[in-house]
């Protein structure tokens, strides 16, 4: 128990994925906890799936599983679709959602165009220096925002990718 408390004092590792939010100036990042992030991969070939929306650029084979690749910038700025860029890193994440058919936990690959930052955020810092703020309209319109905060120079969004990976997003 004391070791757990000690770890929380030192801070949990968090992964800050840069996010381009059209109607919010400054740094915007999407936070994933160390429990959510499975692995960060180098860029590799993503198999495009015809007819899929811009926020689902394709699938990736990861340890014998086919994972959907999600482009967060496209997801959060769907009215501002720009030219596709090359992805710099691919972050394999646990979404917390389950496959509606099999009940298996669903993972996804988040494609990012800039380097992922890693920060250690302690429980104390989380309570004291995270200020809740309104999510920008474009981000809010995605319907996936679980929270939006300000920490130093960063605006931080927590996103729920569950509806996207369950296939419930496009139809809602």
């Amino acid at each position: 128990m004391s070791m757990k408390n000690e770890r929380q004092q030192l801070g949990l590792r968090s992964f800050l994925l840069p996010l381009a939010v059209s109607d919010s100036p400054g740094n915007f990042v999407c936070l994933f906890t160390q429990n959510q992030v499975v692995e960060i991969l180098e860029p590799r070939f993503v198999l495009q799936i015809p007819g899929s929306p811009g926020y689902l650029p394709g699938v990736l084979l990861y340890h014998d599983s086919l994972l959907p690749v999600i482009d967060l910038d496209e997801l959060c700025n769907r009215r501002q679709a720009g030219p596709r860029k090359r992805y710099r890193q691919l972050v394999v994440v646990r979404t917390g959602a389950a496959d509606p058919a099999t009940g298996a936990p669903l993972k996804a690959v988040v494609a990012v165009k800039a380097q992922v930052r890693i920060a250690k955020i302690s429980g104390k810092e989380l309570a004291e220096s995270f200020e809740r703020q309104e999510a920008p309209p474009s981000l809010n319109a995605s319907g996936l925002v679980r929270g939006c905060f300000r920490r130093q120079d960063d605006a931080i969004a927590l996103l729920d990718l569950g509806p996207v990976v369950r296939g419930a997003y496009a139809t809602t």
Binding site: Q48, I49, P50, S52, V59, R79, A108, V165, G167
Partner: protein, 156 residues
Amino acid sequence: MKMLYLAQIGRQLFAVDKECVIGVGTCNGGSFKPIEEEGRRYLPLPHGDRAVICDVGALMAGYGERAPLKRGIHYLIVAHDDQALALTMTGKGRIVAADVAVTRPLPPAFTSWSRTLVPGVLINGMDLILLLDLQTVLETTVTQPRQAECRAQEKR
């Protein structure tokens, strides 16, 4: 095991049942002119037959938008019901034997039309091969309503 015809477009691999394949064509000569009729383009075949052209590259890239047909392009000519389809491909493709029992469906994130068009993905080592549904491919050759539908879905 099943015999499939494996074709490539850019870096993407796709496959159709070998039993459906009529042949492979190449558009080399300057005399090649696709026949345009009711929004579809047709590749003239010997004996006065013709095949509906499906630009698979454009289909992969986004909603079947039509690109100008280039010389030197290869066509995989397949039969579907009483219709012949000419699928564009890079190179001449090849016949492979594959265990289709291990075909995977697309992840649940992919819905509606993507799922119908790609009923399964075949994993071969590090390669992923899309199995295409020919009926849906045929429907994409009349592109305009489908494009509008997909774009509307994406905006939602």
